[in-house]
Amino acid sequence: MKLDLLNVSCGYGQKNILSNITFSIESGKILCILGPNGVGKSTLFKTILGFLKLQNGSILLDGESILNWSRRSMAKSIAYVPQTQPQPFSFSVLEVVTMGRAPHLRSFESPAKKDVEIAEGSLDRLGVLFLKDRIFSELSGGERQMVLIARALTQQPQVLIMDEPTSSLDFGNQIRVLKQIKRLAQSGLCIVMTSHFPDHAYLCSAKVILLQKDKNYQTGVFDEVVTEENLRKAYGIDVKIIHTVDDKGAVIKACIPVLS
């Protein structure tokens, strides 16, 4: 499975925000979209998801343009993990996750036992099956993020698009969510995520696309793209990239901002 963006231009209505974006990503890989606020990270993934009209270029899934796909076929291939929004009703976690079956059911069909089992499977895959009877709106941020990922998995997609999956999580939960993201990619999913932390791209061994304010962008493996120079250009701050070694002797990289 391969997701290709060819010369994609996107924006809101007539207004152009990004142009000539080209990248491709295969199953088992993670692409991390980095860039300062307002540069068009969300615009880019919303265009892939079909929320925004593609202004130019093409988006291909295994070589096939998804431009004219129905919502339903899109949802079967590409799932979306949003940032959590307030939920007014007290649905149980299992009910929320089962909603991911919607694209596979006929319009007036409701989920059968098989669908609930798939939903439980998704929760289990993320190691959070114990949450299933809890009330979704009362969960903590980290738990809710896991549930939304489980709901997306229940759609049985090939591509997962995640909007800042680590935002508003505590330090431990950020890392736990990243670990799961990495595991999901290893199991064959193709993952596109946005992030504010270059370090997170490194931790997931992700490919990176770094969007600059001048409509330029760099894309490639972490080492090529996330350089002190590029980060300074993108975020307007000085950054040192340092290396250290973990307990097993493997090299770890981290970006440290320099205040002065």
Binding site: M74, Q85, A102
Partner: protein, 352 residues
């Protein structure tokens, strides 16, 4: 309220099958007892005897007066209460899901105000109750259509469809309320004005059989799609983009649900006048009993709403020497009940 009652700390267990059967039985009991209940009491066994006799043609032992009271006077009215109560509750439940807000009522987009305006016009021209309902039905639908049309034009410029719709709904509702006031001002204060005022308070005493058929038709057209798609209403409570990413064309579904729920509201208001609070509190009670899943919530709302309105109608018929308009009683019961509900529910549901 459910916290620490049926459930452990964080999870809630509902008993849908048990509750559905209980609600069904309770509804039937209330229905039958209400047929006998009133200034002329008919015992339950006689009511059953009359009903069974009428349906299956078996011999009826009850007195002719009892038959007349049950069949010709009360049956029509109680069927109307059943339908209006059920329809308003279903409409309210749907609106709350579509607007992602548990304190929305089914006349949010101006259905009641529009219907009231139509009824006021019809009453000023001394039309009979059948035409009052017909005209009020169409003005009610018209008001909601107007709100929707304006919001569609407006939301081309900004992106928050739902909020725009709520605001235009409020504007349209208030506009039609002003029109109704204008008609009241020019209406003959001796005959027409009381008729309009009385109609606005809501009641089932003026029901005529033709209206009931109209109501039944509107109800079937509105309720059947809502029941078929009930599971999908669950999804509507998430953000538009989230819903789309799960494969639903959110705008189409939203229009569909609003059309059906508006049909139910307007048809009910057209027949019974403005009856407030039912569409707001019954969905709440239903959620507490059966949980938020629309698949189960819709039938529960239907039964609870129907039962509730039959009971309230019993009060209006019997509690005072002269009949009190239904809308007054639902408000007197509804308002404090809602406050209690909010106090008890605090903490369950919508924070963060």
């Amino acid at each position: 309220m459910r916290k620490g009652f049926f459930c452990s700390k964080d999870s809630v267990k509902y008993y849908p099958t048990f509750m559905a059967i209980t609600l069904g039985i309770f509804f039937l009991i209330v229905f039958v007892l209400s047929l006998g209940f009133g200034r002329y009491m008919v015992p339950a066994n006689q009511v059953l005897n009359i009903i069974v006799g009428k349906i299956f043609g078996t011999s009826i032992t009850a007195s002719p007066v009892a038959i007349d009271v049950v069949i010709n006077i009360r049956l029509l009215r109680i069927i109307a209460a059943t339908m209006v109560g059920g329809a308003l509750s279903i409409a309210g439940t749907t609106y709350q899901g579509v607007f992602r807000n548990p304190i929305v009522s089914p006349d949010l987009l101006g259905a009641s105000s529009g219907a009231a305006f139509g009824a006021a016009i019809a009453l000023v021209f001394s039309l009979n109750m059948f035409w009052v309902s017909i005209i009020s039905f169409f003005t009610g639908i018209g008001a909601v259509f107007l709100a929707y049309a304006i919001s569609t034009i407006m939301s081309k410029r900004n992106n928050n469809d739902l909020l725009t719709l709520v605001l235009t709904g409020m504007v349209v509702a208030s506009l039609f309320t002003a029109f109704t006031s204008l008609i009241k001002l020019v209406a003959d204060p001796d005959s027409k004005l009381p008729a309009i005022t009385y109609w606005l308070m809501g009641g089932l005493s003026t029901i005529v059989p033709q209206n009931l058929f109209m109501l039944l038709l509107a109800l079937l057209i509105g309720i059947i799609p809502l029941f078929l798609f009930s599971w999908r209403i669950n999804l509507m409570s998430f953000d538009d983009e989230e819903v789309e990413s799960m494969g639903l064309d959110v705008k189409k579904y939203r229009i569909g649900f609003i059309v059906c729920a508006t049909l139910l509201t307007t048809a009910s208001v057209a027949v019974s006048g403005v009856i407030g609070w039912v569409g707001l509190i019954i969905p709440h009670i239903s959620r507490m009993i059966i949980g938020p899943n629309y698949k189960k919530l819709m039938p529960a709302s239907l039964l609870i709403g129907a039962t509730f309105l039959i009971l309230v109608d019993d009060i209006t018929r019997c509690a005072f020497p002269s009949e009190i308009p239904l809308g007054i009683i639902t408000s007197i019961i509804g308002a404090p009940f809602f406050i209690i509900l909010m106090l008890k529910r605090r903490g369950v549901g919508s924070e963060t």
